[in-house]
Symmetry: C2
DNA sequence: ATGGCCCTTGAAGCGCGGTTCAAGTCAAGG
DNA sequence: CCTTGACTTGAACCGCGCTTCAAGGGCCAT
């Protein structure tokens, strides 16, 4: 159950799919705890693999390493601090989700785009598009697979 | 129809919600074209607002400015190059979408989390979680609103 | 003990996406 | 004329997330 630490940094790096330099960097900034050592060399137990995976997902969802650190540190006092941090982040992640969906829709329409010039293509925000983000959402929802702009609309 | 350029960089910045320094930076790297000038000062027409909005959305969906530039440049030759670029990016955006959804689910569970320690909480990858990303997806789908890990599972 | 391989450190460098700064220009208003 | 305010430039700087480098240490097999 309590497996003693046996992984070198190189093995951890291979198994987690990150660079050794990143692992040392994470340790420097306090994101990973300082592991035990054997003859000066770091020895990890398997637990660190889960942590690295978690870091990867959180990172890809737009969390900065500092925020991930807060998240992990805050976990020791699960509860209030954890909840406030996560509730704040939840809003950001939801916004990211919307924008990512919009971009996905845009790209899907772009796949089928047969327009000759940007001017006739609804994929590219025309003049007067104050909030192109909102326009992209609309365009993508309305356009279906046809991105042709109504000629003189 | 063809409104003449009348917006200063400051007005554009205010209306698009970006810094003037960013606009100049975008121009430096070729992301925005060099606008006309009046007495040395940049004068934009409203079209640039749409472009800036587009840049913002694309950026938030994980596109680098270089890629956005390719996307915009490629638009002049809509068609093949556009499609290959967008199809490549589509995969990345879909992956991002999945990870973001996973993170959102994680955060939602975290909101309700009543665990006292990370050890008993399914939100934190345990030892042996080789691929914590996959585990997060599973945890989030399975957990509902209860993140308590089965005691000796 | 020699070679090979993985590990160690601190410091420097890099790519990105900007911001900030100093010094100067321009047009309008009092 | 003089100030005010927004603009101009190039260069330097910044935070982030690393990577690379130089110089060296530990351990193992041959």
């Amino acid at each position: 159950m309590d497996r003693f630490p046996e992984l070198t940094i190189g093995e951890v790096a291979r198994r987690a799919g990150v660079a050794t330099s990143s692992i040392r960097y994470y340790e420097r900034i306090g994101l990973l705890p300082k592991p035990e050592r054997a003859g000066g060399q770091r020895r990890y137990d398997a637990e660190v693999l889960g942590k690295l995976g978690f870091i990867g997902v959180a990172q890809s969802a737009g969390f900065k390493l500092r925020e991930i650190k807060e998240l992990i540190d805050g976990a020791d006092g699960l509860g209030a601090p954890m909840r406030s941090l996560s509730s704040q982040k939840l809003g950001e992640v939801e916004a990211l989700l919307e924008r990512t969906k919009a971009m996905k829709g845009w790209l899907e329409v772009a796949q089928e785009c047969g327009c000759a010039t940007p001017a006739e293509c609804a994929l590219f925000p025309g003049p007067g598009a104050e909030q192109a983000g909102a326009e992209m959402l609309r365009v993508v929802q309305v356009a279906g697979k046809d991105c042709r702009r109504s000629p003189a609309g």
